[in-house]
Amino acid sequence: MRRQVFMILLMGLLSLFMAHGALSLGKGRVDKKDIAEEIRKRIQAQLIRLGIPDPLSPPATRGFEDLPLALRYLPRDPYGYPDWTRAMEDGLLLPRDYIYGPEELGKERHYDKDVVIKVKDEVLGDVIFSHRKHNYWLSCDNCHPYPFKEKRGETKFTMYDNWKGKYCGLCHGKVAFMLRGIDNCLRCHTLRRN
């Protein structure tokens, strides 16, 4: 008898927990979907004019078995692709800076300041560009002076340029995470304004 009551209680708790989870999940999704719809409305005409495929349609979701063996156990982003920044921050990866010796890098400068890139849009927040995260993988001369001039505010570009494979799109969309899907949008456009 006692066992039965216990089981029923357990089941009740479990169902409550699951319902709560499902509800909160649904809420989050609706919120993001609304943002995506709003953005899509704004940019659709320009996208068609420039011939850019819809960036708000998410990339193909990757399953565990889908990924090559070497990448399966890395932290993964909402679409199932390896999250290299998280892997770096968690210390899961220890990639080398050079092949034979540190003299290959020459005068390596470290720069880890954040840069706020202002965005002309009311829906998405400004971008916080983290030099620290990028300098970990790349050296300064990978990005400066081409495609980004070193002086702040001198290089002006739009999101359409990025989607066409210029500026950020030189890496993002080829080796770094794709500029597609609302979850990926919000990885850069993080700064909320009032």
Binding site: P68, L71, Y81, W137, V175
Partner: protein, 119 residues
Amino acid sequence: MYRMMIILVMLIGGILVSTVYTQEGTRLLEYGDIVMNSKQEAMKKAKVKLVVFPHWFHRIRYKCKACHPKLFVMERGANDIDMDKIMRGEYCGRCHNGIVAWEPLYCDRCHIYEPPGER
């Protein structure tokens, strides 16, 4: 009775999980893979397939700055790579020399890609 229920739940769970995890991955090119096709004609003449460079596989062990931009310029077709240079220790041969990584004697490890139309 409960034992039976638990066994049943585990069975159903097992079936569900196994169906999810046994889907075959048929993808040939991984995201981040570069097909090197600027010397397509020469490779066709030599009867080898196109080269695939798996960026993500290399990224586990090396940062971008280990190879870019000194070894390879970050632009498609801007690096004049050929097997002779690789054998002499330039480009891929800087690591693929039998000391850091395997030597460039196994053609079918890199020359693996056929464009879908020509298969």
